[in-house]
């Protein structure tokens, strides 16, 4: 090619292809910088939050290393020392029970909405209500359970779990429906073409393909719910010893303990609050990490 062109035109072409110092180029650079700045601003509060939780909490947690996680909460708030055992157990049990309620319901509901309901009036209504439910403040969910459950059966872990399940449900429905939508239509067709019924296709082709997304969506919902305080305020009470039975008697959880201890004037209680905060952040982080690992492991297997 170049042999066909004179040197003159080659030089000209070279000049033409050089980047121009134009206003357009400058504007592009400014925008890129603004976006970088926005990303930085987003990260700053996160770094400060995590930084302060670690700096104030790590000392408390590691001073009494495993016993902070296992010992009961001192009866007297002014006592200094561990631990948060009952709150950790409570958080696990309450969140676990909430998951057992919300995840199967949510996944089944989403399968109905996406695979069977389609655009019928009923499914449109359900979808609308689920969206509205996403916007309901968590304290309202707590009040709701307080009125219909706690007033009748008293304070217990189940009350808190039901309130958390109400919060998780719309998130699970949405995440699952979104994942079902992403399953390629040609996989369904391939299954139908082999003489597979619709229900069997959903069970053996659609759900397995959507599973990694559904699992990580559900784990994020769980992590979110584990950190909720408001729904627990009127429903679980504030036990200081491990309450293994979530169906009976007052229970406690990490967010509730953080709330209690942060209000306290005693340095010992405040310390325990920071320790509980670090523990909770750790648990949420573990869930998020698991969600990541699960979805990337599935991605690799494909």
């Amino acid at each position: 090619m170049s042999t066909m062109m004179s040197d003159q035109s080659t030089a000209q072409v070279l000049e033409d292809l050089r980047p121009k110092r134009s206003w357009r180029q400058a504007r592009s650079n400014i925008m890129v910088m603004l976006m970088g700045l926005a990303a930085l601003v987003i990260v700053v509060p996160l770094v400060f939050v995590i930084g302060s939780v670690i700096s104030r909490g790590a000392g408390v947690v590691f001073r009494d290393f495993p016993s902070f996680f296992t010992k009961k909460i001192p009866i007297k708030s002014e006592d200094i020392g561990p631990g948060m055992g009952p709150a950790i157990v409570g958080t696990m049990l309450i969140t676990g029970f909430a998951t057992l309620v919300a995840v199967p319901l949510g996944i089944l509901g989403a399968v109905y909405l996406h695979e069977y309901g389609g655009t019928t009036k009923l499914s449109k209504l359900i979808r609308f209500l689920a969206t509205v439910m996403t916007g309901v403040p968590s304290i309202v969910m707590g009040l709701f359970i307080y009125v219909i459950f706690t007033l009748r059966f008293g304070l217990s872990g189940v009350g808190g779990a039901l309130a958390l399940a109400c919060l998780m449900l719309p998130v699970v429905i949405r995440a699952t429906e979104e994942m079902l939508r992403l399953v390629p239509g040609n996989l369904r067709e391939a299954s139908y073409a082999l003489g597979t019924s619709k229900s069997r296709t959903i069970l053996t082709v659609v759900l397995p393909s959507a599973l990694p997304g559904i699992v990580s969506g559900c784990l994020l919902a769980v992590a979110r719910a584990a950190g909720e305080t408001a729904p627990l305020l009127f429903t679980i009470g504030a036990a200081r010893a491990v309450q293994g039975n979530i169906f009976k008697g007052a229970n406690t959880a990490l967010p509730a303990q953080i709330f209690e201890n942060a209000k306290s004037l005693f340095p010992g209680a405040q310390e325990r609050g920071w320790g509980a905060a670090l523990t909770l952040v750790g648990i949420a982080f573990l869930f998020t990490l698991t969600a990541r690992i699960v979805s990337s492991a599935y991605q690799k297997r494909r």
Binding site: G118, P184, N186, L187, R188, E189, A190, S191, Y192, A193, L194, G195, T196, S197, R200, T204, V205, P208, S209, R301, R302
Partner: protein
């Protein structure tokens, strides 16, 4: 016997040269499908109208024609895959061994067990090669491991893929090349031992070498299965098929909407050498479409 058949036979018997094409002996084979005035609507839109033709046993029948002429739509009527599209309505009759597939009390699921399909884009499940092929038999209730192993091997051999994959049956089907994936889809389709295999542009996503392998495979499979193939590639239709149906679009002068129509259906050799309709001639010689 339909008019088309009579027309077909008379066309062959009055041919100028003595015809020794395989189509002549194939005339004796019985029809698997008889389409009678088939028409398909998508909502209010008439996509295809007035299609009548017979598809004969253990032959390869090709549907050719320009885009939007309804050849894929007609193909998808043969195993009720159009049911998946909510707005699709099918009129006329699709007789399969004399039974109207769109008649009352016919289960599309059972229809599809007998009439398999291979799609334009290779669509293996995100499962292992073995599980892809074993999927259909498992759905049909085969549980014994030995039996499944046997079916999988037979199907993969049938699809000329066994030698390439037998050492890695547990590997993902998505790790294969495009041509291998398409043959895996063929293996998956024949694992349920269908009578008919429908192929919707099975080679359009493949390179010429992979295409040649799939074409060889089709010719091999012809002794056991009835095959119907939709193709954009006229050379492909000429190479593999016994009979060819040419579809085109007609513009409705009132609504300006296009409706697919069957123009001509005849032995492939005749369709490509001396078609009766000038539109067919224009298409196969490349002057149109």
């Amino acid at each position: 016997m339909s008019q088309l058949q009579e027309h077909l036979m008379s066309a062959e018997s009055t041919g100028n040269e003595p015809d020794i094409s395989p189509a002549v002996e194939a005339v004796s084979s019985r029809p698997v499908f008889s389409l009678k005035n088939l028409e398909v609507h998508y909502g209010a839109f008439r996509a295809v109208g007035d299609v009548s033709l017979d598809i004969r046993e253990k032959e390869i029948t090709a549907f050719i024609g320009p885009s939007g002429c309804g050849k894929s739509t007609v193909l998808r009527c043969l195993n009720r895959m159009n049911d998946v599209i909510p707005s699709a309505r099918v009129g006329g009759e699709v007789l399969y061994h004399g039974v109207n597939l769109y008649g009352e009390g016919i289960s599309p699921t059972e229809v599809r067990r007998r009439i398999g399909m291979v799609f334009q884009k290779p669509n293996p499940f995100p499962k292992s090669i073995y599980d892809n092929v074993a999927f259909g038999p498992r759905v049909n209730g085969v549980k014994s491991k030995a039996k499944l192993d046997d079916i999988v091997e037979k199907a993969l051999r049938g699809a000329a893929l066994w030698d390439e994959v037998n050492t890695r049956l547990k590997a993902s089907g998505l790790g294969l090349s495009g041509g291998q994936q398409q043959r895996l889809c063929i293996a998956r389709a024949i694992a349920v031992e269908p009578e008919v295999i429908l192929m919707d542009e099975p080679c359009s996503a493949l390179d010429p070498i992979a295409t040649a392998r799939v074409e060889d495979l089709m010719l091999e499979m012809k002794s056991r299965y009835t095959i119907v193939i939709v193709t954009h590639n006229m050379q492909q239709a000429a190479r593999v098929s016994d009979r060819t149906a040419f579809f085109t679009t007609e513009v409705n002068p009132e609504s300006d909407r296009r409706t697919g129509r069957l123009v001509e259906f005849d032995a492939t050799q005749k369709m490509f050498s001396m078609p009766s309709d000038e539109r067919t001639e224009a298409y196969v010689t490349g002057r149109f479409g």
